[in-house]
Amino acid sequence: MLTPLPTLIPRPEGLYCPQGNFFIDPVRPVPRALVTHAHADHARAGHGAVMATRQTLEIMALHYGPDFAGAQQVADGQVTIGGLDVSFHPAGHVLGSAQICIAGPSGRVVVTGDYTRSPNPACAPWEPVACDILVTEATFALPVFRHPDPQAEIARLLASVAAFPERAHLVGAYALGKAQRVIMLLREAGYDAPIYIHGALAKLCDYHIAQGVPLGDLRPATVARGRKGDFAGAVVLAPPSAFAATWAQRFPDPVIAFASGWMMVRARARQRGVELPLVISDHVDWGQLTQTISELDPAETWITHGREDALLRWCALEGRAARPLRLVGYEDEPE
């Protein structure tokens, strides 16, 4: 049998393409890596060569320093690797995020990386890329996940700020993507007061601003003279891990909020001690995921990581060929 399609094989390092001799989003150092987006679990340091969008490479350099790989190549237009045509297409997930399309003589494979079809003003929107094999994430692949309008979630945050003017609102948001998305949603909702950010968010917020993503008046969430009252009524963004640190002790009676797709499930929110769960996701929900498969109508659907059981069941009910790759090393939502 001829090789009808580019081959992708799950390996411990990540998804491997023997024809092109590269890995996609490898979780261990490899000679050649193609990286969909800059979240740390997909974009690791120490590869021989990395190909990614310019913004993904720049964000990796912010994380790991400029020498995070032996060689870097900006994915720009169509590139031929080992006889395969490789191209990157917007995924709508975070700034710089891309789907990777690998085309052989008789067919195409699209690796989605993480993606969302909800409008995300902080980056280019997801584009449909026709394919024979769709290799998709399945982070929120359960029919209970139908993420609401994020603007309605932000309205709940602002209502809480108005209701508790004496308390600080600490919003947990991952440093790359979610934090800027929340800030932009706040600005869209007409909130133009200063937003305070944890130090771990500063570099990436600055980078977004430099890339032309307007975030408004951001200030460091530091207590100049140790006065808790300074943050009364303020919105403060921090990586969720900061809530466990002594850092959280500086705020007056804080309302703990968390912006995540997981916040749809009450038990998840309560486990984290969240008082104000905000369902804001940068992944496809169940509806978007099944819609994407229906619309692209690939011959086969492969599932990289997440809740593949339910998606496999859906594909079976729809009479669609599907298989799980069970790739390990990707977190549900990276910190």
Binding site: L142, P143, V144, F145, R146, L170, F243, A244, A245, T246, W247, A248, Q249, F251, D253, P254, I256, M264, V265, R266, A267, A269, R270, Q271, R272, G273, V274, E275, L276, P277, R307, D309, A310, R313, W314, L317
Partner: protein, 525 residues
């Protein structure tokens, strides 16, 4: 409207603090018109009687709409049936204009068994997920939002600037949707309770100690034991007999043996105990009788209840509440003399002429089910609530053990970011067995020190819980000890708190589990 009720449930579910829950509830009562707020109140107090919507009915409904395997995977992830259905239910597009709670309640109450599933499905079709959740919780009962009936009534009191005791007094004469209660709360007339055998607000005491007592004249006071049961009010009114907890909850159904012995017309205040002849059983035995809708003959025989009378409020048509305690006590003695002594007896008075005598009695109570002393002014009328200067409780010194910190979890609100919820253990052989949890007792400075210790000595993490190096010894004070099959150690402490940090003590010198078990009250074989 179901939308407003859904928002309320959402807020309550994520609000750990009592004060904020009250504020949310009062805000809801303010913003919501009759009769919806009354139905919401009834749902929270457990007084809404709906046709039983069972979990199996709901499972059947969802099976008609969603693939069984997809549902099972989802339920497995979400962990709550109503929540899973609320999220997974494929609406038919479009949400109805908000529906009044009263309409939903009326429909559920009026529906025949056969038409019930179809009605519920049609409602779910036209609701948002959070409305579906609220509707399903309403329909199945059991809201589980951490609001007790009393807290809900307190919120009504806050909302209307009313006295909780007065609400509790009339509560049993009220019915959903409580139009007359809300009329009162918004400036109207106090409802007249037409119910037989109503509850009267209970008189409570304030804590005291030897130092505070020294300023008082012992001759003005009467003392008796503080029994470790639950404070109750026995009301018998024209043939209607009721037993109330001190918060006005009707617990009659669980104590038919007491009700049978209430052959009088009046209101007695006393302590509910499990009592076999003269022998009073530990509090743990009373717990097996509490919270039941029915009680079998076997339990009535093995755990017979008794009422130990403290006071008399009404008797044969006379209201004694304004009379001095000394007079009420005489009347009480005469009243109880005519009752079945196996079920209702008198709390004995303690002879004393000076505080030292009383201190000696307190130090060596004749039974372990005594929590301390009650000291009552001879001239005190029977007053609602906790009024200073009339009744004092002088509790037995707390029990204490030196325990080792094992786990810690972060607190909420003002304690956000601090490890303030501690699990501690005692030695059993070479192992430390967890024996309890404490959230308070420490000063702010001690909290900082404990927080620092947890951060510097974490050995393992289980989600939000940290296991710490077993090196920190704390003195744990507690008010009592019960046997508990639900706890690994076999015992449960009452009101445990961290009294002191014992940095002077190495972990190896912390107490042993056996030491704690010896503190258990003796149980009759």
């Amino acid at each position: 409207m179901i939308g407003g009720f859904a928002d309320l449930l959402e807020r309550l579910a994520f609000t750990p603090r009592r004060g904020l829950k009250l504020a949310h509830l009062a805000g809801y009562f303010r913003a919501t018109p009759d009769p919806d707020r009354g139905f919401a109140l009834a749902a929270l107090t457990g007084d809404l009687d709906l046709r039983a919507v069972t979990p199996s009915l709901l499972r059947g409904l969802v099976a008609g709409r969603v693939d069984a395997e997809l549902f099972a995977l989802s339920y497995d992830f979400v962990g709550d049936l109503a929540e899973t259905i609320a999220l997974i239910w494929p609406g038919i597009g479009g949400v109805d204009d908000d529906v009044a709670l009263s309409d939903l309640v009326a429909q559920l109450q009026g529906a025949g068994k056969a038409e019930l599933p179809g009605l519920i499905a049609a409602r779910l079709d036209r609701m948002s997920p959070s409305q579906r959740y609220a509707y399903l919780k309403l329909a199945t009962g059991g809201l589980r939002v951490g609001v007790s009936a009393r807290l809900a009534r307190q919120a009504v009191a806050d909302f209307g600037a009313l006295d909780l005791a007065e609400i509790e007094e009339i509560w049993h004469g009220l019915a959903p949707p409580y139009l007359n209660l809300f009329a009162w709360a918004t400036g109207g007339q106090k409802p007249v309770s037409a119910a037989r055998a109503p509850f009267r607000p209970v008189m409570l005491s304030t804590p005291t100690d030897a130092e505070a007592l020294a300023a008082l004249d012992p001759a003005d006071f009467i003392a008796e034991w503080k029994w470790d049961g639950i404070r109750v009010q026995a009301v018998s009114d024209g043939g209607t007999r009721r037993l109330y907890s001190r918060t006005g909850d009707d617990i009659s159904a669980a104590f038919p043996d007491i009700l049978e012995a209430m052959a009088f017309d009046g209101v007695l205040d006393g302590e509910l105990l499990v009592r076999r002849g003269a022998q009073v059983a530990p509090f743990g035995e009373l717990q097996t009788r509490l919270g039941r809708k029915k009680v079998g003959a076997k339990l009535l025989h093995s755990h017979p209840a008794g009422l130990r009378a403290y006071d008399l409020l009404l008797w044969e048509g006379r209201d004694w509440r304004s009379a001095p305690f000394a007079q009420r006590r005489t009347a009480l003695e005469q009243a109880v003399a005519g009752l079945d002594a196996a079920r209702i007896d008198l709390s004995p008075l303690l002879p004393f002429t000076d505080w030292d005598t009383l201190a000696a009695l307190r130090a060596a109570p004749p039974e372990t089910v005594i929590e301390g002393l009650m000291i009552k002014h001879r001239a005190s009328p029977y007053l609602a609530g906790r009024i200073r200067g009339h009744w004092f409780k002088w509790k037995r010194d707390p029990m204490r053990v030196d325990a080792v910190l094992l786990y810690a979890q972060r607190g909420h609100g003002k304690r956000s970011g601090y490890y303030s919820d501690f699990t501690f253990g005692l030695w059993d052989g070479d192992a430390l067995v967890p024996v309890g949890k404490a959230y308070f007792g420490f000063t702010d400075a001690e909290l900082k020190a404990l927080d620092r210790f947890v951060r510097d000595n974490t050995v393992e993490r289980f989600g939000p819980v940290r296991a710490v190096r077993p090196e920190k010894v704390v003195e744990v004070a507690f008010e009592g000890l019960n046997r508990s099959p639900r706890h690994k150690s076999g015992v449960a402490m009452r009101f445990p708190r961290i009294a002191r940090i014992r940095d002077d003590k190495p972990a190896s010198e912390a107490d042993r589990l056996a030491t704690l078990l010896e503190m258990l009250p003796e149980v009759e074989g």
